[in-house]
Amino acid sequence: MKMWDLLVCDVLRPAQDYVELRLQAPQPIDLTPGQFFMLRAGDTPDTYLPRAFSWYRSEDPSSISFLFRVQGPGTAHLASLKAGESLSAMGPLGQGFPLPARPIRAALLGGGVGVPPLWGLARALLAAGSEVLALIGARSQAHLVGVEEVRALGAQVLVATDDGTAGHRGPLTELLVGERVDALYACGPEGMLRRVQEISLAGGPPAHLALEAPMACGYGVCLGCVVERTHPDPSLGEYGRYARVCREGPVFPAGEVRF
């Protein structure tokens, strides 16, 4: 974890309401898939707290990008940045996805704003010889992000949309039916994560979930971002009930958290 002054190189609009900020760092950043950054997202009263974003793409060690949906004042500010401006960022933060000890066949599920961490994860798995099935979901075709980018890494990509305008119509997890995979990795809306958790705990493959939570600091000092643990460390007593998403997470084994 470190403070960075990142330089905006490019602002892309890959899908409806989505923006990808491509940035340059003064030095290489050591990134694990699933980690995130706190970005300074404006100077107005509404953007006092920084905002959390997973890193998306990084073609070389000192370039990094973030992909986000414009939702409110913070993302609107980030979307208004122009090439040549600078952005204050803190990170990388948290525990990313653990990689398997040997090559496997892995299914990666990303829905909506949960797609970004999949790019880095797919790249790492593929580099280590694993096979990657990436399932990408969105409300409709116009909101789909990351499909070409993840496919270009060499992953097999399937798509689902709520309205059927692209790929399967219905929940992303239905694309798992009939697939044989050794591990699940998921990031996205709560409902989708809960479904992946159920599948995994009901005798399915082991799963890792990248959670979101409202955050204030992003680096572990405020205790604002907690999620309930299913197997708290008994030596910690009641203190162990909650884990910090920003520090012990955002990635947790599916069996470790209740949300």
């Binding site: 974890m1 470190k2 403070m3 300074r40 009263p45 509404d46 006092y48 707290l49 920084p50 803190m90 939570a213 409202p214 955050m215 204030a216 600091c217 992003g218 680096y219 572990g220 000092v221 405020c222 205790l223 604002g224 971002c225 907690v226 999620v227 309930e228 910690l236 007593g237 009641e238 203190y239 162990g240 009930r241 909650y242 520090r247």
Partner: protein
């Protein structure tokens, strides 16, 4: 610039501390800079037993600040003494232990437990947390605040700072009660009771419904309460609430604070406390002061006399 100050006999190398609950026990910030640059660290509230804290959602955005309803999640006295205090002892900075409890006995046992431990510079009794059911119990009734402070006083020779609540009609009356109970100093302000509403869910954002407001938005309330306490109670005050810059710190000192604490600002800028140490030195110079202590002494002597 001479930044050293005394708060109730406690020497601080500079007047900038970190506020309780916004800095954990220092471990995370220590990954970023050497904690020895700080005047002091006011640690997250410590209770007798480990506390789980409130169910999420625990934080929400607010204009010029934030709301929190953490509910004093902490690992408890034993863990603090075994793990957190030894970590903090490595640094040359004053460790102020923020103490919480559900009742007098709970407070007193923590006070007893930390007294005499190497590396504990002072105690801060938190009788002003709006986020636990009994958090404001002692603040809302000066007589019971006084009894609690008396009980703590009997257990310790450490400088005893009491953190008073801004959510009361008369903080000065509460301050007097703490002084009579034997407090050496006061700290203020804790967070203001507030709420955020989520129009999509049509209900409060926070799991606890209400939460504590902090950040720049509360600075004028903090300055007012610190000014009144400093002028009217006759105890040194550690001022806090919305401090983001050296100028804010100077304003608190000119309002009557001997030292200040930086809270919410560390969420926006993790380097805020050391930055503010440097900025404060520059601001003092720009306004013609030769030391932090001199600024405090020069602040508004008439007003102080008028009420004393």
């Amino acid at each position: 610039m001479d930044l050293s100050v005394f708060v109730a006999g406690l020497p601080l190398k500079n007047p900038v501390l970190t506020a309780s609950g916004t800095f954990g026990y220092g471990r995370e910030a220590a990954e970023l800079y050497d904690l020895s640059v700080l005047g002091g660290v006011m640690v997250k509230g410590v209770s007798r037993e480990p506390w789980p804290g409130n169910a999420p959602v625990r934080v929400a955005r607010a204009p010029g600040g934030m709301l929190n309803a953490i509910g004093l999640q902490n690992p408890g006295l034993e863990h603090f003494l075994m793990v957190d205090l030894p970590f903090l002892r490595q640094y040359d900075t004053a460790v102020v232990v923020n103490v919480v409890g559900h009742d007098e006995e709970g407070f007193v046992e923590v006070v007893r437990g930390v007294t005499g431990q190497a590396g504990v510079a002072a105690i801060e009794l938190n009788i002003s947390c709006p986020n636990v059911k009994d958090g404001l119990l002692f603040s809302q009734d000066p007589a019971s605040a006084r009894r609690l402070v008396e009980a703590a006083r009997r257990e310790t020779d450490l400088p005893l700072i009491v953190k008073v609540s801004p959510n009361v009609t008369d903080p000065v009356q509460l301050g007097h009660a703490c002084r009579e109970g034997g407090a050496d100093a006061l700290s203020a302000i804790n967070t203001l009771l507030g709420m955020a509403i989520d129009p999509v869910r049509r209900s409060p954002v926070l799991g606890n419904r209400t939460g504590g407001l902090s950040g720049p938005a509360v600075k004028p309330v903090g300055l007012r309460i610190v000014y009144d306490l400093a002028a009217q109670v006759g105890l040194p005050v550690v001022g806090m609430g919305g401090i983001e810059t050296g100028r804010d710190a100077l304003e608190y000192i000119l309002a009557g604070a001997r030292a200040v604490a930086v809270g919410t600002a560390v969420f926006r800028d993790p380097f805020a406390p050391p930055r503010i140490v440097g900025e404060l030195a520059a601001e003092l110079g720009r306004h013609g002061f030769e030391s932090a202590a001199q600024a405090w002494a020069a602040a508004n002597p008439q007003a102080r006399e008028a009420v004393s």
